[in-house]
């Protein structure tokens, strides 16, 4: 069987990536980065949490936004899955429910990039004002 990618190929990549990382400033401590936790229990997975998490990882990477996207357990909002918890450095975490790809895009464009909260926060105590 012709194995296309191997650990030898990964070693080459490792050398390239390591030199890129060394060129960057050492400012990537996790507390200085945007953190997104995607709830990944049965309720979340059945509602599309995997697609939501993959979208956040790929879109943030595509836009060059440094962030930590990770998975977490059930946050107890099973009715509103997929749910995510977004933490902007220096601010309180915010939980969003029903985070489809479209909602994830809105969260990136407004909350992550402009620090403007959008509709969909749970527990429901916030809604944006239409001008």
């Amino acid at each position: 069987m012709n194995k296309i990618k191997s650990l030898a190929d990964l070693k080459k990549l490792q050398t390239e990536v390591q030199s890129k990382i060394k060129l960057r400033e050492k400012g990537d401590h996790s507390e200085n980065l945007i953190q997104i936790k995607v709830s990944m229990a049965t309720c979340g997975i059945a509602s599309g949490a995997k697609e939501t998490m993959t979208y956040f990882i790929e879109e943030l990477d595509h836009q060059g936004i440094d962030a930590i996207v990770t998975q977490t357990g059930c946050m107890g909002y099973c009715y509103a899955e997929p749910t995510i918890e977004l933490t902007i450095p220096g601010q309180q975490p915010v939980v969003y429910g029903f985070v489809t790809k479209a909602k994830a895009q809105e969260i990136i464009e407004k909350h992550v990039k402009l620090n403007e909260m959008v509709d969909g926060i749970i527990p429901v105590n916030y809604s944006s004002i239409d001008n």
Partner: protein
């Protein structure tokens, strides 16, 4: 849960919650015997005989955020719908092994789905445990171990976008070669 890959993602979450440091995922297809076997085993905290007895009860969970635990019971139900079987072995302090056997050609067997996406989410997460993945079909076998990958990467994080893209291609290429049945 529409795909088997989503079931795998779900069952592995139990291992992560059980503080496993090494998780094995094995998929074996036996067309002659007409079965597809999925095993998830871990070195986590394991379950007591009492917990094990109740593990597939949908109204039992060790979580405190909700009162139902549907993952294992849904997985078991899916195996039974295809004429298969389901078992859990567990020992406190040693770990747990979940084995699901599906009728490979059964009309009700869920498709494998996006296995590469599931594996990437598991592997490329910060603080992820180590994984040994093995997929065996009559066309061949593909196995990888994240310990080997992390050793090769040295101080480069496995979450780095370039590494993630590399692993995505590696998984796609290797899994395509052994042809995952749908």
């Amino acid at each position: 849960m529409k795909d088997l890959s989503l079931h795998i993602l779900d069952i592995v979450q139990n291992s992560i919650r059980a503080k496993a440091t090494l998780i094995g995922i094995e998929i074996t297809e036996h067309p002659k015997e007409n079965n597809l076997i999925i095993s998830v085993l871990d070195d986590g905290t394991g379950m007591s005989p009492e917990q094990l007895q109740r593990a597939i009860d949908p109204f039992y969970t060790s979580r405190t955020t909700r009162k139902v635990g549907l993952g294992l019971s849904l997985f078991k139900q899916n195996t039974e719908m295809t004429g298969g079987s389901f078992s859990i072995e567990s020992e406190l302090g040693k770990g747990t092994k979940v084995t699901a056997v599906f009728g490979l050609n059964h009309f009700d067997r869920p498709v494998m789905g996006d296995l590469v996406g599931t594996l990437l989410i598991l592997i490329c997460s910060p603080d992820a445990p180590d994984y040994v993945f093995k997929h065996q079909t009559p066309s061949g076998e593909f196995e990888f171990n994240t310990r080997d990958i992390k050793q090769t990467l040295e101080d480069v994080p496995i979450t780095h976008p370039d590494v993630r893209n590399f692993l995505k291609e590696m998984l796609q290429e290797n899994l395509e070669q052994i042809q995952i049945s749908e």
